[in-house]
Protein backbone atom coordinates (compact mmCIF):
# COMPACT_ATOMS: atom_id res chain seq x y z
CA UNK A 1 0.00 0.00 0.00
CA UNK A 2 1.21 3.47 -0.94
CA UNK A 3 0.74 5.68 2.07
CA UNK A 4 1.08 9.44 1.92
CA UNK A 5 1.87 11.33 5.10
CA UNK A 6 1.94 15.11 5.45
CA UNK A 7 4.45 16.39 7.98
CA UNK A 8 3.88 19.97 9.12
CA UNK A 9 6.34 22.05 11.11
CA UNK A 10 5.68 25.60 12.24
CA UNK A 11 9.08 27.15 11.92
CA UNK A 12 12.27 26.89 9.95
CA UNK A 13 15.02 26.27 12.41
CA UNK A 14 17.42 23.58 13.40
CA UNK A 15 14.99 21.91 15.76
CA UNK A 16 12.26 21.46 13.20
CA UNK A 17 14.72 20.69 10.47
CA UNK A 18 15.96 17.76 12.54
CA UNK A 19 12.39 16.66 13.14
CA UNK A 20 11.85 16.66 9.40
CA UNK A 21 14.92 14.47 9.01
CA UNK A 22 13.49 12.03 11.53
CA UNK A 23 10.21 12.06 9.63
CA UNK A 24 11.99 11.38 6.37
CA UNK A 25 13.88 8.49 7.88
CA UNK A 26 10.70 6.89 9.19
CA UNK A 27 8.79 7.45 5.95
CA UNK A 28 11.58 5.97 3.90
CA UNK A 29 11.76 2.96 6.11
CA UNK A 30 8.06 2.32 5.71
CA UNK A 31 8.01 3.09 2.00
CA UNK A 32 5.61 5.98 2.47
CA UNK A 33 5.58 9.33 0.70
CA UNK A 34 6.23 12.32 2.94
CA UNK A 35 4.89 15.78 2.06
CA UNK A 36 6.55 18.59 3.95
CA UNK A 37 4.87 21.82 4.94
CA UNK A 38 5.67 24.81 7.14
CA UNK A 39 2.93 26.88 8.75
CA UNK A 40 5.26 29.74 9.71
CA UNK A 41 3.62 30.02 13.15
CA UNK A 42 0.54 31.47 11.48
CA UNK A 43 -2.88 29.90 12.06
CA UNK A 44 -4.17 31.07 8.69
CA UNK A 45 -1.31 29.53 6.77
CA UNK A 46 -1.73 26.33 8.74
CA UNK A 47 -5.37 26.09 7.71
CA UNK A 48 -4.63 26.49 4.06
CA UNK A 49 -1.89 23.83 4.29
CA UNK A 50 -4.15 21.34 6.05
CA UNK A 51 -6.98 21.96 3.60
CA UNK A 52 -4.62 21.47 0.71
CA UNK A 53 -3.48 18.15 2.13
CA UNK A 54 -7.08 17.12 2.72
CA UNK A 55 -7.84 17.93 -0.90
CA UNK A 56 -4.87 15.91 -1.99
CA UNK A 57 -6.21 13.00 0.01
CA UNK A 58 -3.29 12.18 2.31
CA UNK A 59 -3.60 9.25 4.70
CA UNK A 60 -2.20 10.94 7.75
CA UNK A 61 -1.15 14.37 8.97
CA UNK A 62 1.68 14.73 11.42
CA UNK A 63 1.68 18.21 12.85
CA UNK A 64 2.97 20.51 15.51
CA UNK A 65 -0.09 22.76 15.77
CA UNK A 66 0.41 26.48 16.00
CA UNK A 67 -2.17 26.83 18.72
CA UNK A 68 -4.10 24.63 21.12
CA UNK A 69 -7.41 26.05 20.01
CA UNK A 70 -6.96 27.81 16.71
CA UNK A 71 -5.78 24.62 15.06
CA UNK A 72 -8.80 22.52 16.06
CA UNK A 73 -11.24 23.32 13.20
CA UNK A 74 -9.04 22.30 10.27
CA UNK A 75 -7.79 19.19 12.04
CA UNK A 76 -11.37 18.27 12.87
CA UNK A 77 -12.13 18.56 9.16
CA UNK A 78 -9.22 16.25 8.42
CA UNK A 79 -10.43 13.70 10.91
CA UNK A 80 -13.93 13.80 9.39
CA UNK A 81 -12.38 12.79 6.09
CA UNK A 82 -10.79 9.78 7.71
CA UNK A 83 -7.31 11.24 7.89
CA UNK A 84 -5.27 10.16 10.88
CA UNK A 85 -3.88 13.07 12.82
CA UNK A 86 -0.75 12.79 14.93
CA UNK A 87 0.45 15.76 16.91
CA UNK A 88 3.95 16.24 18.20
CA UNK A 89 5.82 18.94 20.11
CA UNK A 90 2.58 20.87 20.67
CA UNK A 91 -1.02 19.68 20.53
CA UNK A 92 -4.63 20.81 20.51
CA UNK A 93 -7.11 20.99 23.34
CA UNK A 94 -9.45 18.46 21.74
CA UNK A 95 -8.10 15.02 22.67
CA UNK A 96 -10.54 13.20 20.41
CA UNK A 97 -8.84 14.36 17.21
CA UNK A 98 -5.23 13.16 17.35
CA UNK A 99 -4.71 9.41 17.47
CA UNK A 100 -1.43 10.04 19.14
CA UNK A 101 0.48 12.91 20.71
CA UNK A 102 4.23 12.90 21.13
CA UNK A 103 6.12 15.56 22.94
CA UNK A 104 8.82 16.56 25.20
CA UNK A 105 6.97 18.40 27.83
CA UNK A 106 7.74 22.04 27.44
CA UNK A 107 7.67 22.48 31.16
CA UNK A 108 10.20 19.66 31.50
CA UNK A 109 12.49 21.58 29.19
CA UNK A 110 12.43 24.48 31.60
CA UNK A 111 12.52 22.25 34.66
CA UNK A 112 15.58 20.28 33.60
CA UNK A 113 17.63 23.38 32.97
CA UNK A 114 16.14 24.84 36.15
CA UNK A 115 17.50 21.93 38.17
CA UNK A 116 20.98 22.57 36.82
CA UNK A 117 20.64 26.24 37.64
CA UNK A 118 19.46 25.44 41.18
CA UNK A 119 22.56 23.39 41.81
CA UNK A 120 24.71 26.11 40.32
CA UNK A 121 23.14 28.83 42.44
CA UNK A 122 23.50 26.79 45.58
CA UNK A 123 27.11 25.77 44.95
CA UNK A 124 28.64 28.70 43.10
CA UNK A 125 26.57 31.76 43.97
CA UNK A 126 25.91 31.21 47.65
CA UNK A 127 22.19 30.76 47.32
CA UNK A 128 21.23 34.05 45.72
CA UNK A 129 21.11 35.13 42.10
CA UNK A 130 19.96 37.98 39.88
CA UNK A 131 18.31 36.45 36.85
CA UNK A 132 17.14 37.68 33.45
CA UNK A 133 15.08 35.65 31.00
CA UNK A 134 14.70 35.78 27.25
CA UNK A 135 11.51 34.31 25.83
CA UNK A 136 9.42 34.36 22.67
CA UNK A 137 6.14 35.69 23.99
CA UNK A 138 5.21 37.55 20.86
CA UNK A 139 5.82 34.46 18.74
CA UNK A 140 4.38 31.51 20.71
CA UNK A 141 3.17 32.74 24.06
CA UNK A 142 2.02 29.41 25.50
CA UNK A 143 5.24 27.52 24.90
CA UNK A 144 7.42 30.43 25.87
CA UNK A 145 5.64 30.76 29.19
CA UNK A 146 5.89 27.02 29.89
CA UNK A 147 9.64 27.02 29.45
CA UNK A 148 10.40 30.20 31.31
CA UNK A 149 8.10 29.40 34.22
CA UNK A 150 9.38 25.82 34.34
CA UNK A 151 12.90 27.12 34.61
CA UNK A 152 12.12 29.62 37.33
CA UNK A 153 10.11 27.08 39.31
CA UNK A 154 13.06 24.71 39.65
CA UNK A 155 15.82 27.29 39.84
CA UNK A 156 14.15 28.81 42.90
CA UNK A 157 14.90 25.64 44.76
CA UNK A 158 18.56 26.63 44.75
CA UNK A 159 18.03 29.82 46.71
CA UNK A 160 16.67 33.34 46.32
CA UNK A 161 15.97 34.44 42.77
CA UNK A 162 15.67 38.11 41.85
CA UNK A 163 14.17 38.32 38.39
CA UNK A 164 15.55 41.61 37.12
CA UNK A 165 14.34 41.48 33.52
CA UNK A 166 12.01 39.45 31.34
CA UNK A 167 12.28 40.22 27.66
CA UNK A 168 11.59 38.71 24.28
CA UNK A 169 14.39 37.78 21.85
CA UNK A 170 14.37 34.54 19.94
CA UNK A 171 16.64 35.35 17.01
CA UNK A 172 20.33 35.26 17.79
CA UNK A 173 21.09 38.75 16.52
CA UNK A 174 18.20 40.25 18.47
CA UNK A 175 19.25 38.38 21.57
CA UNK A 176 22.79 39.76 21.32
CA UNK A 177 21.32 43.24 21.50
CA UNK A 178 18.65 42.67 24.11
CA UNK A 179 20.91 40.66 26.39
CA UNK A 180 23.60 43.29 25.89
CA UNK A 181 21.17 45.98 27.00
CA UNK A 182 20.10 43.94 30.02
CA UNK A 183 23.69 43.35 31.04
CA UNK A 184 24.49 47.03 31.06
CA UNK A 185 21.31 47.88 32.89
CA UNK A 186 22.05 45.31 35.59
CA UNK A 187 25.72 45.29 36.49
CA UNK A 188 25.09 42.72 39.22
CA UNK A 189 23.40 40.21 36.93
CA UNK A 190 24.39 36.58 37.53
CA UNK A 191 22.30 34.42 35.26
CA UNK A 192 20.57 34.66 31.90
CA UNK A 193 18.07 32.01 30.90
CA UNK A 194 17.10 31.85 27.23
CA UNK A 195 14.12 29.77 26.24
CA UNK A 196 15.20 28.77 22.75
CA UNK A 197 18.24 28.11 20.63
CA UNK A 198 18.62 31.55 19.03
CA UNK A 199 18.18 33.29 22.36
CA UNK A 200 20.83 31.08 23.96
CA UNK A 201 23.39 31.75 21.23
CA UNK A 202 22.72 35.47 21.46
CA UNK A 203 22.94 35.53 25.25
CA UNK A 204 26.31 33.75 25.22
CA UNK A 205 27.67 36.15 22.63
CA UNK A 206 26.36 39.13 24.57
CA UNK A 207 28.19 38.01 27.69
CA UNK A 208 31.34 37.65 25.62
CA UNK A 209 30.78 41.09 24.10
CA UNK A 210 30.53 42.61 27.54
CA UNK A 211 33.65 40.76 28.69
CA UNK A 212 31.68 39.33 31.61
CA UNK A 213 32.90 35.76 31.25
CA UNK A 214 32.99 34.22 34.71
CA UNK A 215 30.55 36.81 36.07
CA UNK A 216 27.41 36.09 34.12
CA UNK A 217 26.34 32.54 33.35
CA UNK A 218 23.94 31.40 30.69
CA UNK A 219 21.42 28.59 30.78
CA UNK A 220 19.45 27.68 27.72
CA UNK A 221 17.47 25.30 25.57
CA UNK A 222 18.35 22.99 22.67
CA UNK A 223 21.24 20.75 21.85
CA UNK A 224 22.67 22.11 18.64
CA UNK A 225 26.22 21.72 17.46
CA UNK A 226 26.97 25.34 18.22
CA UNK A 227 25.54 25.21 21.73
CA UNK A 228 27.31 21.95 22.48
CA UNK A 229 30.47 23.65 21.30
CA UNK A 230 29.80 26.52 23.72
CA UNK A 231 29.42 24.03 26.57
CA UNK A 232 32.88 22.73 25.79
CA UNK A 233 34.45 26.17 25.36
CA UNK A 234 36.74 27.13 28.16
CA UNK A 235 35.41 30.59 28.82
CA UNK A 236 32.78 29.18 31.16
CA UNK A 237 29.80 31.15 29.88
CA UNK A 238 27.22 28.56 28.91
CA UNK A 239 26.49 26.27 31.86
CA UNK A 240 23.73 24.02 30.75
CA UNK A 241 21.09 23.38 28.15
CA UNK A 242 18.28 20.91 27.82
CA UNK A 243 18.18 19.10 24.51
CA UNK A 244 15.06 17.78 23.04
CA UNK A 245 15.40 14.81 20.78
CA UNK A 246 13.87 16.15 17.63
CA UNK A 247 15.09 13.39 15.36
CA UNK A 248 13.52 10.74 17.56
CA UNK A 249 10.35 12.76 17.90
CA UNK A 250 9.91 13.16 14.15
CA UNK A 251 10.67 9.52 13.57
CA UNK A 252 8.24 8.28 16.18
CA UNK A 253 5.51 10.65 15.04
CA UNK A 254 5.57 9.36 11.50
CA UNK A 255 5.79 5.79 12.70
CA UNK A 256 2.66 6.32 14.79
CA UNK A 257 0.88 7.88 11.85
CA UNK A 258 1.73 5.00 9.55
CA UNK A 259 0.72 2.46 12.17
CA UNK A 260 -2.62 4.22 12.65
CA UNK A 261 -3.19 4.35 8.92
CA UNK A 262 -2.58 0.62 8.73
CA UNK A 263 -5.16 0.10 11.41
CA UNK A 264 -2.75 -0.80 14.16
CA UNK A 265 -3.08 0.29 17.77
CA UNK A 266 -1.05 3.34 18.77
CA UNK A 267 -0.29 4.96 22.09
CA UNK A 268 -2.38 8.02 22.86
CA UNK A 269 0.39 9.92 24.50
CA UNK A 270 4.12 9.42 24.11
CA UNK A 271 6.58 11.41 26.09
CA UNK A 272 9.89 11.82 24.31
CA UNK A 273 12.37 12.36 27.08
CA UNK A 274 14.50 15.48 27.17
CA UNK A 275 18.19 15.39 27.85
CA UNK A 276 20.01 17.72 30.17
CA UNK A 277 23.48 18.70 29.06
CA UNK A 278 25.60 20.32 31.72
CA UNK A 279 29.08 21.75 31.74
CA UNK A 280 29.70 19.69 34.87
CA UNK A 281 29.31 16.52 32.81
CA UNK A 282 31.80 16.98 29.98
CA UNK A 283 31.74 13.32 29.04
CA UNK A 284 28.00 13.39 28.53
CA UNK A 285 28.30 16.50 26.39
CA UNK A 286 30.95 14.92 24.20
CA UNK A 287 28.89 11.82 23.76
CA UNK A 288 25.96 13.94 22.61
CA UNK A 289 28.24 15.78 20.22
CA UNK A 290 29.18 12.49 18.61
CA UNK A 291 25.54 11.60 18.28
CA UNK A 292 24.81 14.91 16.56
CA UNK A 293 27.60 14.35 14.10
CA UNK A 294 26.31 10.91 13.31
CA UNK A 295 23.03 12.44 12.15
CA UNK A 296 24.56 14.53 9.39
Amino acid sequence: DDLTVAGIVFQQDQFFRTIQMGMQAAAEEAGATLLEGNSDSQPDKEISLIDTYIARGVDAIVISPVSGVASIPPLARAKERGIHVVTYNSTIEDDSIPVSYLNSQQRDLGNTTGDMAAAFIRDQLGGEANVATLGFQALLPEISADRVDGFVEKAEEGGTLNIVAQQDAWLAEDAVQVAGDIITANPDLNIIYAANEGGTVGAVQAVRNAGKQGEIFVFGVDGTEQLVGFLLDEDNVLQGVTAQQPFVMGQMAVQSAIAAARGEEVEQTVIVPVLGLSRTDQAGVEEFQDYLRSLN
Partner: protein, 319 residues
Protein backbone atom coordinates in the same frame (compact mmCIF):
# COMPACT_ATOMS: atom_id res chain seq x y z
CA UNK B 1 -1.01 36.34 -35.31
CA UNK B 2 -4.17 36.06 -33.29
CA UNK B 3 -2.43 34.28 -30.44
CA UNK B 4 0.25 36.93 -30.17
CA UNK B 5 -2.42 39.60 -30.05
CA UNK B 6 -4.30 37.70 -27.39
CA UNK B 7 -1.12 37.34 -25.41
CA UNK B 8 -0.42 41.02 -25.63
CA UNK B 9 -3.88 41.88 -24.35
CA UNK B 10 -4.24 39.27 -21.65
CA UNK B 11 -0.72 38.28 -20.60
CA UNK B 12 -1.49 37.45 -16.98
CA UNK B 13 -4.61 35.53 -17.87
CA UNK B 14 -2.67 33.40 -20.29
CA UNK B 15 0.18 32.76 -17.86
CA UNK B 16 -2.40 31.76 -15.27
CA UNK B 17 -4.10 29.34 -17.65
CA UNK B 18 -0.76 27.83 -18.68
CA UNK B 19 0.21 27.31 -15.05
CA UNK B 20 -3.19 25.82 -14.43
CA UNK B 21 -2.89 23.33 -17.27
CA UNK B 22 0.56 22.33 -16.10
CA UNK B 23 -0.68 21.68 -12.57
CA UNK B 24 -3.68 19.68 -13.76
CA UNK B 25 -1.26 17.19 -15.26
CA UNK B 26 1.64 17.43 -12.85
CA UNK B 27 0.16 17.92 -9.38
CA UNK B 28 -1.68 15.00 -7.79
CA UNK B 29 -5.10 16.03 -6.55
CA UNK B 30 -4.93 19.49 -8.14
CA UNK B 31 -7.80 19.00 -10.54
CA UNK B 32 -10.29 17.73 -7.99
CA UNK B 33 -13.31 19.85 -7.20
CA UNK B 34 -12.37 19.73 -3.54
CA UNK B 35 -9.02 21.25 -4.29
CA UNK B 36 -10.46 23.94 -6.53
CA UNK B 37 -12.88 24.96 -3.78
CA UNK B 38 -9.96 24.84 -1.43
CA UNK B 39 -7.98 27.29 -3.54
CA UNK B 40 -11.00 29.53 -3.63
CA UNK B 41 -11.43 29.50 0.11
CA UNK B 42 -7.75 30.08 0.66
CA UNK B 43 -7.65 33.20 -1.48
CA UNK B 44 -10.79 34.83 -0.15
CA UNK B 45 -9.26 36.57 2.85
CA UNK B 46 -6.29 38.06 1.05
CA UNK B 47 -8.45 38.73 -1.97
CA UNK B 48 -10.95 40.80 -0.04
CA UNK B 49 -8.16 42.96 1.28
CA UNK B 50 -6.47 43.12 -2.11
CA UNK B 51 -9.61 44.65 -3.62
CA UNK B 52 -9.43 47.45 -1.09
CA UNK B 53 -5.68 47.78 -1.57
CA UNK B 54 -6.21 48.18 -5.31
CA UNK B 55 -8.25 51.29 -4.68
CA UNK B 56 -5.69 52.63 -2.24
CA UNK B 57 -2.79 52.07 -4.62
CA UNK B 58 -4.64 53.51 -7.62
CA UNK B 59 -5.34 56.59 -5.51
CA UNK B 60 -1.59 56.95 -5.09
CA UNK B 61 -1.31 55.72 -1.52
CA UNK B 62 -0.41 52.46 0.18
CA UNK B 63 -1.49 50.53 3.27
CA UNK B 64 1.17 48.46 4.99
CA UNK B 65 -0.88 47.81 8.11
CA UNK B 66 -3.33 45.23 6.76
CA UNK B 67 -1.47 42.20 8.13
CA UNK B 68 -1.71 43.20 11.75
CA UNK B 69 -5.08 44.77 11.00
CA UNK B 70 -6.41 41.27 10.36
CA UNK B 71 -4.95 39.97 13.61
CA UNK B 72 -6.20 43.00 15.52
CA UNK B 73 -9.78 42.74 14.30
CA UNK B 74 -9.94 39.01 14.98
CA UNK B 75 -8.70 39.58 18.52
CA UNK B 76 -11.02 42.51 19.08
CA UNK B 77 -14.03 40.53 17.90
CA UNK B 78 -13.08 37.61 20.14
CA UNK B 79 -12.56 39.90 23.11
CA UNK B 80 -15.87 41.71 22.68
CA UNK B 81 -17.57 38.35 22.29
CA UNK B 82 -16.04 37.09 25.51
CA UNK B 83 -16.99 40.18 27.46
CA UNK B 84 -20.54 40.48 26.14
CA UNK B 85 -21.68 36.89 25.80
CA UNK B 86 -22.76 36.63 29.48
CA UNK B 87 -25.12 39.54 28.89
CA UNK B 88 -26.26 39.24 25.31
CA UNK B 89 -25.57 35.68 24.26
CA UNK B 90 -23.00 34.70 21.65
CA UNK B 91 -24.44 35.91 18.33
CA UNK B 92 -25.30 39.49 19.19
CA UNK B 93 -21.90 39.70 20.89
CA UNK B 94 -20.08 38.48 17.80
CA UNK B 95 -22.02 40.92 15.66
CA UNK B 96 -21.14 43.80 17.95
CA UNK B 97 -17.52 42.68 18.00
CA UNK B 98 -17.32 42.47 14.21
CA UNK B 99 -18.89 45.87 13.79
CA UNK B 100 -16.52 47.29 16.39
CA UNK B 101 -13.57 45.90 14.44
CA UNK B 102 -14.84 47.41 11.19
CA UNK B 103 -15.45 50.75 12.81
CA UNK B 104 -12.03 50.70 14.47
CA UNK B 105 -10.15 49.93 11.27
CA UNK B 106 -12.23 52.36 9.25
CA UNK B 107 -11.40 55.03 11.83
CA UNK B 108 -7.74 54.18 11.55
CA UNK B 109 -8.03 54.54 7.77
CA UNK B 110 -9.57 57.97 8.28
CA UNK B 111 -6.77 58.85 10.70
CA UNK B 112 -4.17 57.86 8.11
CA UNK B 113 -5.98 59.92 5.49
CA UNK B 114 -6.19 62.96 7.75
CA UNK B 115 -2.48 62.85 8.51
CA UNK B 116 -1.83 62.66 4.78
CA UNK B 117 -4.13 65.59 4.15
CA UNK B 118 -3.09 67.96 6.86
CA UNK B 119 0.58 67.19 7.32
CA UNK B 120 1.45 65.54 4.03
CA UNK B 121 2.43 62.41 5.97
CA UNK B 122 3.19 59.63 3.47
CA UNK B 123 0.77 56.76 4.08
CA UNK B 124 3.73 54.43 3.65
CA UNK B 125 5.17 55.60 6.95
CA UNK B 126 1.91 56.04 8.86
CA UNK B 127 0.75 52.56 8.01
CA UNK B 128 4.21 51.14 8.63
CA UNK B 129 3.99 52.52 12.15
CA UNK B 130 0.46 51.21 12.49
CA UNK B 131 1.65 47.76 11.44
CA UNK B 132 3.66 47.65 14.64
CA UNK B 133 1.10 49.41 16.80
CA UNK B 134 -1.77 47.13 15.77
CA UNK B 135 0.32 44.04 16.29
CA UNK B 136 1.14 45.23 19.79
CA UNK B 137 -2.50 46.10 20.40
CA UNK B 138 -3.66 42.65 19.27
CA UNK B 139 -1.24 41.08 21.72
CA UNK B 140 -2.37 43.38 24.51
CA UNK B 141 -6.01 42.50 23.89
CA UNK B 142 -5.33 38.80 24.03
CA UNK B 143 -2.55 38.90 26.58
CA UNK B 144 -0.66 36.68 24.18
CA UNK B 145 -3.05 33.76 24.37
CA UNK B 146 -5.70 33.13 21.75
CA UNK B 147 -9.17 34.12 22.96
CA UNK B 148 -11.54 31.21 22.44
CA UNK B 149 -14.88 32.76 23.08
CA UNK B 150 -16.68 31.72 19.90
CA UNK B 151 -19.39 29.05 19.77
CA UNK B 152 -18.62 26.19 17.41
CA UNK B 153 -21.32 27.23 14.93
CA UNK B 154 -19.54 30.50 14.28
CA UNK B 155 -17.05 28.57 12.17
CA UNK B 156 -19.69 28.40 9.42
CA UNK B 157 -18.73 31.91 8.34
CA UNK B 158 -15.16 30.97 7.48
CA UNK B 159 -15.37 27.23 6.96
CA UNK B 160 -18.98 26.36 6.11
CA UNK B 161 -20.49 25.50 2.76
CA UNK B 162 -23.60 26.88 1.08
CA UNK B 163 -24.89 25.05 -2.00
CA UNK B 164 -21.60 23.21 -2.16
CA UNK B 165 -19.48 26.37 -2.25
CA UNK B 166 -17.42 27.56 0.74
CA UNK B 167 -19.35 30.34 2.41
CA UNK B 168 -16.51 32.93 2.44
CA UNK B 169 -16.44 32.71 -1.36
CA UNK B 170 -19.82 34.43 -1.42
CA UNK B 171 -18.42 37.27 0.63
CA UNK B 172 -15.41 37.43 -1.69
CA UNK B 173 -17.67 37.67 -4.74
CA UNK B 174 -19.83 40.29 -3.07
CA UNK B 175 -16.83 42.46 -2.22
CA UNK B 176 -15.48 42.04 -5.74
CA UNK B 177 -18.82 43.11 -7.19
CA UNK B 178 -19.02 46.10 -4.91
CA UNK B 179 -15.53 47.32 -5.72
CA UNK B 180 -16.02 46.66 -9.43
CA UNK B 181 -19.13 48.80 -9.41
CA UNK B 182 -17.47 51.53 -7.37
CA UNK B 183 -14.47 51.74 -9.65
CA UNK B 184 -16.31 51.74 -12.94
CA UNK B 185 -19.66 53.37 -12.35
CA UNK B 186 -19.28 55.92 -9.59
CA UNK B 187 -17.54 59.25 -9.44
CA UNK B 188 -15.71 58.04 -6.35
CA UNK B 189 -14.16 55.29 -8.45
CA UNK B 190 -13.15 57.58 -11.28
CA UNK B 191 -11.81 60.11 -8.80
CA UNK B 192 -9.49 57.41 -7.51
CA UNK B 193 -7.77 57.33 -10.89
CA UNK B 194 -7.68 61.10 -11.10
CA UNK B 195 -6.16 61.72 -7.69
CA UNK B 196 -3.64 58.94 -8.25
CA UNK B 197 -2.78 60.06 -11.75
CA UNK B 198 -2.49 63.78 -11.14
CA UNK B 199 -3.36 65.08 -7.71
CA UNK B 200 -3.17 68.74 -8.64
CA UNK B 201 -5.32 68.33 -11.73
CA UNK B 202 -7.90 66.43 -9.73
CA UNK B 203 -7.95 69.15 -7.12
CA UNK B 204 -8.30 71.89 -9.72
CA UNK B 205 -11.22 69.96 -11.22
CA UNK B 206 -13.06 70.32 -7.97
CA UNK B 207 -12.60 66.75 -6.81
CA UNK B 208 -12.37 66.38 -3.06
CA UNK B 209 -9.04 64.59 -3.32
CA UNK B 210 -8.69 63.94 0.39
CA UNK B 211 -12.15 62.55 0.78
CA UNK B 212 -11.41 60.20 -2.09
CA UNK B 213 -8.14 58.92 -0.68
CA UNK B 214 -9.50 58.70 2.84
CA UNK B 215 -12.52 56.76 1.69
CA UNK B 216 -10.29 54.24 -0.09
CA UNK B 217 -8.23 53.81 3.06
CA UNK B 218 -11.29 53.47 5.26
CA UNK B 219 -12.90 50.93 2.93
CA UNK B 220 -9.71 48.90 3.00
CA UNK B 221 -9.91 49.05 6.78
CA UNK B 222 -13.44 47.64 6.66
CA UNK B 223 -12.39 44.89 4.25
CA UNK B 224 -9.43 44.06 6.45
CA UNK B 225 -11.76 43.74 9.42
CA UNK B 226 -14.04 41.43 7.40
CA UNK B 227 -11.04 39.26 6.55
CA UNK B 228 -10.04 39.31 10.21
CA UNK B 229 -13.47 38.08 11.31
CA UNK B 230 -13.42 35.36 8.66
CA UNK B 231 -10.00 34.19 9.85
CA UNK B 232 -11.21 34.26 13.45
CA UNK B 233 -14.11 32.09 12.39
CA UNK B 234 -11.79 29.68 10.61
CA UNK B 235 -9.59 29.25 13.66
CA UNK B 236 -12.48 29.71 16.11
CA UNK B 237 -10.44 32.14 18.14
CA UNK B 238 -8.80 35.52 18.10
CA UNK B 239 -5.07 35.10 17.61
CA UNK B 240 -2.48 37.87 17.57
CA UNK B 241 -0.15 35.94 15.30
CA UNK B 242 -2.60 35.57 12.42
CA UNK B 243 -1.82 37.06 9.02
CA UNK B 244 1.73 38.12 9.79
CA UNK B 245 3.39 39.48 6.67
CA UNK B 246 0.22 39.64 4.61
CA UNK B 247 0.77 43.25 3.67
CA UNK B 248 3.52 42.43 1.21
CA UNK B 249 1.68 39.47 -0.28
CA UNK B 250 -1.47 41.50 -0.80
CA UNK B 251 0.52 44.28 -2.45
CA UNK B 252 2.24 41.71 -4.67
CA UNK B 253 -1.14 40.41 -5.82
CA UNK B 254 -2.32 43.90 -6.69
CA UNK B 255 0.82 44.69 -8.66
CA UNK B 256 0.92 41.35 -10.43
CA UNK B 257 -2.57 42.30 -11.54
CA UNK B 258 -1.15 45.28 -13.40
CA UNK B 259 -1.88 48.12 -11.00
CA UNK B 260 0.82 50.77 -10.99
CA UNK B 261 2.53 51.46 -7.69
CA UNK B 262 2.69 55.09 -8.70
CA UNK B 263 -1.05 55.40 -8.82
CA UNK B 264 -3.56 56.28 -11.49
CA UNK B 265 -3.53 52.93 -13.25
CA UNK B 266 -5.01 49.53 -12.53
CA UNK B 267 -8.13 47.40 -12.63
CA UNK B 268 -9.96 45.28 -10.14
CA UNK B 269 -10.14 42.45 -12.67
CA UNK B 270 -6.35 42.44 -12.75
CA UNK B 271 -6.20 42.12 -8.99
CA UNK B 272 -8.51 39.13 -9.14
CA UNK B 273 -6.08 37.49 -11.54
CA UNK B 274 -3.14 38.40 -9.31
CA UNK B 275 -4.82 36.89 -6.26
CA UNK B 276 -5.66 33.70 -8.16
CA UNK B 277 -2.10 33.54 -9.49
CA UNK B 278 -0.57 33.60 -6.02
CA UNK B 279 -3.19 31.20 -4.64
CA UNK B 280 -2.59 28.67 -7.39
CA UNK B 281 1.19 28.87 -6.98
CA UNK B 282 1.05 28.14 -3.27
CA UNK B 283 -1.46 25.34 -3.67
CA UNK B 284 0.37 23.80 -6.62
CA UNK B 285 3.75 23.81 -4.94
CA UNK B 286 2.33 22.26 -1.80
CA UNK B 287 0.72 19.50 -3.84
CA UNK B 288 3.92 18.98 -5.81
CA UNK B 289 5.71 18.69 -2.45
CA UNK B 290 8.25 21.33 -3.39
CA UNK B 291 10.52 21.91 -0.40
CA UNK B 292 9.86 25.01 1.66
CA UNK B 293 13.18 26.52 0.58
CA UNK B 294 12.55 26.04 -3.08
CA UNK B 295 9.02 27.34 -2.63
CA UNK B 296 10.45 30.63 -1.45
CA UNK B 297 12.79 30.88 -4.40
CA UNK B 298 10.14 29.90 -6.93
CA UNK B 299 7.49 32.17 -5.50
CA UNK B 300 9.78 35.19 -5.51
CA UNK B 301 11.00 34.44 -9.00
CA UNK B 302 7.46 33.99 -10.32
CA UNK B 303 6.36 37.31 -8.84
CA UNK B 304 9.26 39.06 -10.52
CA UNK B 305 8.68 37.11 -13.72
CA UNK B 306 4.98 37.86 -13.92
CA UNK B 307 5.34 41.58 -13.36
CA UNK B 308 8.31 41.66 -15.69
CA UNK B 309 6.23 40.05 -18.41
CA UNK B 310 3.58 42.74 -18.04
CA UNK B 311 6.20 45.45 -18.24
CA UNK B 312 7.98 43.92 -21.22
CA UNK B 313 4.76 43.80 -23.18
CA UNK B 314 3.99 47.37 -22.24
CA UNK B 315 7.46 48.55 -23.24
CA UNK B 316 7.09 46.72 -26.53
CA UNK B 317 3.63 48.13 -27.16
CA UNK B 318 4.94 51.64 -26.71
CA UNK B 319 7.53 51.16 -29.47
Amino acid sequence: MALAGLFRRYPMEIILVAMYLYLVFAAPGFATIDNQLNILRNITMMGIIAFGMTMVIISGEIDLSVGSGVAFSGCLTAWVTRELTPFLGPYPSIAIGAVAAMVALAAIGVFTGKLRQHFNMPTFITTLGLLTVLSGAANLITGGFPITSFPYEFSFLGSGFLFGIPFPVYIFVAVFGLVFFLMNYTSFGRSLYAVGGNLEAARLSGIDVWKTKTLALALTGVFTAIAGVLIASQILSGSASAARGWELTVISAVIIGGTSLFGGKGTIRGTLIGVLFLGVIVNGMTLLNVSEYWQLVVRGALIIGAVLMNHMLETQARR
